[in-house]
């Protein structure tokens, strides 16, 4: 039996808890949240204990895995503490707010010889896996122009941390990092980034970014990220790859097996919206199952720590481009922060 401690009882903590609970060989032992009520609620559902800090969890429970579902600024210190205690670590994306932290985290985990996987969950969405396989099959020829979209209403997290763009990095670092990682997985390294966004426009609770990526392979990708939709707008997730022999399109809106509309209750508040994918085993569970299997069999997770760092590097290049109004060369190491 593998024992897991989850840090954070927010949207992702809850989602991951459901997944761990569905695996017979895993036991959720502890939930850490500084909001005791939230921690107890979630812990209660899985006959686990709730703790106020990772220290308390590590002291009271013998866990094998620490799963970090906390806001980005808390990733580094908790990765360090978990690594120090020799726990294998699954950490939500993005790995960190800056490259220095990200690299230190990777280094520390390597030194402590613990597994460290960033939850770039798009790699476990069957439609994205299928798209990658089609691209590799040559059915659409050589890939050329790629378009992705990812959009929801503005997320409401603890202390409204998403609203503080210095902490969250806005839609570019928190949201379309999924697409950056997926595109890099399919098309290799990014050479150049140009971006326009609402980041520096002094607007509250709205973010929107249009990113152009040029890959070393020549592929041009357009990545749209939106936290600009009104509450209640369905999650938008789209991928289009045009190649020399064809085109493929993945569109969440066109592949939803059912739609449900409910009367809005007054004062109803949305938290963080994540795409719902009705499958016998949802992508989050596939992701967690993979990590659990790697821990059990002592093998390397398919997402390397370096992948998490590279995705952040692309996002930081995009942020830099927004700031300077210029194209940013990733390969030349222009991305420093």
């Amino acid at each position: 039996m593998l024992k897991v401690g989850i840090l954070g009882a927010g949207t992702m903590g809850k989602t991951h808890a459901v997944s761990y609970n569905s695996l017979p060989e895993v036991e959720i032992r502890g939930i850490v949240d500084r909001d005791e009520g939230a921690g107890q609620d979630l812990a209660g559902q899985y006959k686990a204990h709730s703790y106020k800090s990772i220290e308390e969890l590590l002291e009271k429970e013998e866990v094998d895995i620490i799963d970090i579902c906390l806001p980005t600024p808390f990733h580094k210190e908790n990765v360090f503490k978990a690594a120090q205690a020799s726990k294998d670590i699954l950490c939500e994306k993005p790995i960190a707010r800056n490259l220095k932290d990200a690299q230190e985290m990777v280094k520390r985990c390597a030194e402590k010889k613990v597994k460290f996987m960033i939850a770039q969950v798009l790699r476990f969405f069957p439609e994205y896996i299928a798209a990658k396989e089609i691209i590799s099959s040559g059915k659409i020829g050589k890939p050329a122009v790629v378009r992705t979209s990812r959009g929801a209403s503005f997320p409401l997290g603890a202390d409204d941390w998403y609203g503080d763009k210095d902490l969250s990095g806005g839609v570019i670092l928190d949201m379309i990092i999924h697409d950056f990682d997926f595109l890099r997985w399919c098309f290799g390294e990014v050479k150049r980034v140009y971006t326009k966004s609402l980041l520096n426009k002094g607007l509250e609770r709205i973010d929107y970014a249009l990113v152009t990526l040029r890959f070393s392979s020549g592929v041009i990708a357009h990545v749209e990220g939106s936290w600009a939709y009104p509450q209640g707008t369905p999650f938008r997730q789209r991928l289009e790859v045009a190649g020399t022999k064809g085109l493929l399109e993945v569109d969440l809106g066109k592949s939803s097996p059912y739609t449900m509309y409910l009367k809005q209750e007054e004062g109803a508040k949305a938290g963080v919206v994540i795409p719902e994918v009705p499958l016998s085993e949802d992508p989050y569970t596939r992701e967690i199952k993979h990590f659990v299997e790697c821990v059990k069999s002592d093998t390397l997770p398919s997402i390397l720590p370096e992948d998490g760092v590279r995705a952040v590097e692309i996002a930081l290049a995009a942020l830099e481009s927004v700031k300077t109004g210029r194209a940013v060369e990733v390969e030349k190491g222009e991305v420093k922060s």
């Binding site: 050329a144 609402l198 929107y208 749209e224 600009a228 020399t244 210029r326 194209a327």
Partner: protein
């Protein structure tokens, strides 16, 4: 009203000829085309006279108005001849291949007091007009950003060779498709583009030697930013010719527009592939009809040569940006 068409190099000439046939009181008086075979065939098809030399046609047939659908680079000489002989002009986009040519065309029309209308049929699209009204009424608040696409299948190099011949077209996909979207963005926001960044390349087709894809990033004078994708990235098996989509991001809401969404999906074993058959308004007919009315009433054209020039300016800036690897500024009159 006597109307002539000069050149069938651009396939839109076929549609415009059909439209003229549907408008009462209008006669397609002749077709001029330097390509004898094509010109004679089209003259037969549309039951009108054929001239190889458009100058001769202008003199002998004296049409009141002319539709120019030649290769882009030839717009200027033809437009100048038309203007100097007092003919009103509806000219295919892009207006020309250089700003100098475009300016020469506009001055000639101004001097000779002839109407010059730029053929931007999307201006007549009912969905586009509804969206424009919604944006102007502030329904989605202040517009902050726009995302546009005008994808297409590459024009067949055998059938319509000028599109992929840079000396005649001035550029490939970016030249061909940028102008439509930029025109709509300018028209709907009422603001001019002041900065352009673009990635432009030839990645999709190897039987040509011209750009076939790109992504443009634009910044407008009113701080709105936008991207647009003019790529010839639809494969031959795509259910339709392409698309024109615009997303408007406002501070009070968003609009997702697909100007050609009014389709029937057709699955026929006779075709062996899926087709989307458009049932929305015939935009070319609305446009040509409006041009005829404008000429009849000596009115101001709905879409001007200046509009054509400003759209071309952005396409040219995109090429320049791609060449330099940095953004290019555009100076606008205040």
């Amino acid at each position: 009203m006597k109307v002539a068409i000069i050149s069938f190099a651009h396939m839109h000439a076929n549609s415009y000829a059909r439209c003229l046939g549907k408008i009462e009181g209008v006669e397609l008086v002749s077709i001029a085309d330097e390509d004898v075979k094509r010109g004679e065939k089209k003259a037969r098809e549309f039951r009108t006279k054929y001239y190889q030399d458009y100058q001769e046609m202008l003199k002998k047939e004296s049409p009141e108005a002319v539709i120019i659908t030649s290769a882009n680079a030839k717009h200027k000489d033809i437009a100048l001849s038309c203007a100097n002989s007092g003919k009103h002009i509806l000219c295919e986009k892009p207006i020309a291949t250089t700003l100098e040519d475009a300016k020469a065309m506009l001055s000639a029309c101004l001097e000779n007091e002839v109407i010059y209308q730029q053929a931007f049929p999307l201006r007549y699209s009912p969905p586009v007009n509804i969206i424009k009204k919604q944006v102007e009424q502030g329904t989605i608040g202040k517009v902050l950003a726009i995302k546009g696409t005008n994808h297409g299948v590459m024009p067949d190099p055998q059938e319509h060779p000028f599109f992929t011949d840079k000396s005649l077209s001035g550029g490939g996909a970016v030249m061909d498709h940028t102008v439509h979207v930029v025109d709509l963005m300018r028209w709907i926001t009422g603001s001019e583009v002041r900065e352009v960044y673009a990635e432009v390349d030839q990645l999709l087709h190897d039987n040509i030697d011209i750009d076939d894809c790109g992504i443009l990033s634009l910044e407008f004078e009113n701080e709105v930013f936008a991207t647009l994708d003019p790529s010839w990235s639809r494969p031959k098996s795509f259910p339709t010719w392409g698309d024109l989509k615009l997303d408007f991001i406002g501070d009070k809401g968003v609009i997702f527009m697909d100007a050609f969404a009014q389709n029937i999906s057709l699955y026929s074993d006779l075709d062996g592939r899926v087709f989307w058959n458009f049932w929305g308004d015939d935009l070319d007919l609305l446009m040509v009809r409006d041009f005829i009315d404008t000429v009849a009433n000596k009115a101001n054209p709905k879409v001007t040569g200046f509009d054509g020039l400003k759209a071309l300016e952005v396409a040219l800036a995109a090429y320049k940006s791609a060449e330099k690897g940095e953004s290019v500024k555009i100076k606008n009159q205040r």
